[in-house]
Amino acid sequence: MSSLQDKLNERLEPKLQDTVAIIDGILGNSSDLHRREFNLCGHPDYPGIVWFLEGMADTSIIDSILMALMVSARELNVEPAELANSEELRTRMMVNASVKNCETIGDGIAAILAGDSLVVIQGVDRAVIVCAKGIKERSVEEPSSENNVRGPRDGFNENMRTNTASVRRRIKDPLLRFEALTIGTRSRTDVNIAYIRDLAKEELVEEVRKRLERIQIDAILESGYIEELIEDSPYSPFNTVQSTERPDKVASSLLEGRVAIFIDNTPVVLVVPTFFWQFIQAPDDYYNNYWVGSFFRIVRYIAFLISLLLPSVYVMIVSFHQEMIPTSLALTIASGREIVPFPVLLEALIMELAFELMREAGLRMPKPIGQAVSIVGSLIIGQAAVQAGLVSPFMVIVVAITGIASFAIPSYSSSLALRICRFPLLLASGLFGLLGFAVVFFVLLLHALSIRSFGEPYLAPASPYRPWDQRDMLLRVPFWMMDRRPEFAMDGRRMGDRQKPNTPKEEQK
């Protein structure tokens, strides 16, 4: 390993054979590695080689390199000796957009592996790296996990540069910065930290940088790897790092003074710091009328409460606190349960399990079969199980409403977290009634209160209470009232005075 490291640090040899020997020694004879020999200006004394990886590099760019070095150079009557300096070569001959000099073997190898091409010519002092990345990428599509009705339809894709560009397109601020890092000793994944310099706190950016640089891992295949390696509370079921596939979400986060982490090869971008309430907010809230936005936000808060609490509350009331049910409802529930052989808790667990099974099966099956699974599942659960007297119709309703409510939460990953929190609550309320329910609920609440996300309390602005930030928490106030950025941003004001529009008064004559 160390010998490899030594080799990588070596300077490139002016003699072509030596360089070829070293590079071949390191890269071996991989079938996708191509080596194209040529003569500079067609002169046999100046042989050169272009290395590139097939598939990673765009061959038309390689063509243009060869065209410049072999054909154009001769047509211009340039003497190969004049090009002995790589700087000359770069500035006089190369027609490609991105060309840089290369000093060491390591840089050259890294460039080849990243899909660029390395040009080495006998007698030229340094090698030249020509950017030739031409990997086939998925086109920009609507993100499938975060839908909205009104608003931009573009989503991120697997190419990080495309992703940063779609954010840059939204914020043409000279202070928008992308800082590059490489993480993963083997994967050498490109990672960019994005922020707006006068909005994001210096310390926050520094902290993100520090946590990312700390990571020592062989490969990063998805943003989830990084998320788990930079989290504040690694044991917590709650996400303290937001992930999104929507450029508009990232742009608005950057404008609030947050920091985004772009990772190559995944369409998911991480945003920090993160607050719990963000998972309940959706971009539609801001794109639709504020009345509508506030209303649907409240609906989503209700969905959040239902998806977390409803099964536990039902189990608790039906098996411990029957006096809390209005009499006619109590009779209806009792008659539905008359021949159910299981205790309510077990019934709830069976139904929850069945629901999770259906969800998981529907997700994993090939798409056409997935529908069949859900139809069969809902028939079995909804109709047959009740008819057979295995579960009560009320439990079916409770589980179905809970399931629907959990799908109404915009962030899929945090609805998963809620779904996990539901089970301890359910068990506790089924075993100990209100006492157990209260204990577990408070444990969850205290835990959520105690954790932080990159220096910000997780439940802010509810606790600690931040009066100015309330305008964008439970409700979505009109834009002309939202004149401040969140408290953690550096530059507080986001708009001028008196932005509320009104009908112009008739002019006085």
Binding site: Y235, T327, A330, L331, A334, G336, R337, E338, L431
Partner: protein, 395 residues
């Protein structure tokens, strides 16, 4: 951290297993009581408790899997014991489920039981946390056992029908809505005495299968009130007197009265609204005096009288005033003279105004009250004849 989590898990597991779902009872393992009757047992010194238990499967029909039976919605049983609780425990000898009281609608006492004293009953029904303070309490001259097992009203569960009956008691205005809370309040009060609703069985229901038998099916009806002194029942109040009582205790606002036409012939029905009774106590020569002022608006709702509205208006008004005054006087008379029991809470109003005088009078309040001067002033304003000025006549 791992160790902390493991020990928390272990502790949680131990607690869960050791507690073994303490207090857990499934809703379908309960015998939900919807009405309870109390009377004296056959042997002296015993009490007989009869309960109406809901059978959910039949009370609700099929809500889910076929749960069998098309039987009766309620299951009524009785047991005897030395005390109420003893009798309830004895119910457990033949009811297959645990008797559950939280959804009880009504407690019915037999007249004889009530006359013997209801201290124990109030104690039991307010001590137990499972019992509710908003349960209706009533006294019946009939057998409570028969009363609670009568299928009555439009509701599936008879207890619920009685509950709704009480809930809408102000429509007829003939019985008090007396619940456990009122009862205990009056029992604990130093001045007021309890008064409970009277319910009875009357053949009011008409069989659809045998209409020829006329109204032959017994139904539960609200019919007045029972007055108490201390914890013992002392006598009944008629529906008309009960309406008088309701002005005092329930702030009755509306009702109807039928009066004779001023110029003879038919009758005139009037509905009074926004009635407000003010009790003004005063103290003179060591004796309390009470002035009762009742103000109300009235409409004519059914007229059989000749003549235009303007002609009969004044007389109709004074007749209605007289009618209302007589129901107030009837209630006063029962409280002061017949039963010598302050169930109208006159003592409370007096105490609020004359606290120091009250202290000297409180020990013999019932006697003092019976000698108190009372004056009844009723003022009614007839606001409208609704849409017609005159009676409906063929020209």
């Amino acid at each position: 951290m791992i160790r902390v989590m493991l020990s928390a898990l272990l502790l949680g597991g131990v607690v869960a297993l050791a507690a073994s779902c303490m207090g857990l009872r499934q809703i379908n393992e309960l015998a939900i009581v919807s009405a309870v009757g109390l009377e004296l047992g056959e042997k002296p010194g015993t009490v007989r408790v009869s309960v109406q238990i809901i059978r959910p499967a039949d009370a609700r029909g099929q809500t889910g899997a076929p749960a069998g039976g098309t039987g009766e919605p309620v299951y009524s049983v009785r047991a005897e014991g030395k005390s109420i609780f003893d009798a309830i425990r004895n119910l457990g000898r033949f009811t297959s489920r645990r008797v559950y009281w939280s959804h009880n609608f009504v407690i019915v006492m037999q007249e004889k039981y009530a006359r013997k004293g209801i201290k124990e009953m109030v104690d039991f029904f307010t001590r137990n946390h499972e019992l509710r303070m908003d349960t209706w309490v009533a006294v019946t001259p009939d057998s409570p056992e028969e009363l609670i097992s009568t299928i009555t009203g439009l509701e599936v569960v008879p207890g619920e029908a009685v509950d709704k009956l009480f809930y809408n008691n102000d429509v007829a205005g003939h019985a008090l809505g007396s619940n456990m809370m009122n009862l205990e309040e009056a029992m604990l009060s130093g001045s007021a005495q309890p008064v409970l609703a009277k319910i009875q069985l009357q053949p009011r229901g008409i069989s659809n299968k045998k209409p020829g038998a006329r109204a032959s099916i017994n139904q539960v009806e609200l019919a007045g009130a029972a007055a108490f002194r201390g914890d013992r029942m002392v006598g009944w109040l008629s529906p008309k007197e009960t309406r008088g009582v309701m002005f005092f205790l329930e702030k009755l606002e509306s009702g109807i009265e039928v009066v004779d036409c001023p110029n003879g012939g038919g009758v005139l029905t009037m509905e009074f609204k926004n009635a407000r009774l003010r009790v003004v106590p005063s103290y003179r020569n060591g004796k309390p005096e009470f002035t009762l002022r009742l103000r109300a608006d009235a409409d004519m709702v059914e007229s059989g009288c000749d003549g235009a509205l303007g002609e009969i208006r004044d007389e109709a008004r004074s007749k209605l005033e007289e009618e209302l005054a007589s129901s107030l006087r009837g209630a006063l008379n029962k409280a002061q003279k017949t039963y010598r029991s302050d169930f109208l809470k006159l003592g409370d109003t007096f105490r609020n105004k004359y606290p120091s005088e009250w202290r000297t009078l409180r020990h013999r309040w019932n006697e003092t009250l019976s000698e108190a001067e009372t004056e009844v002033k009723v003022k009614v304003v007839i606001k409208s004849a609704v849409v017609k000025a005159e009676r409906t006549n063929r020209p």
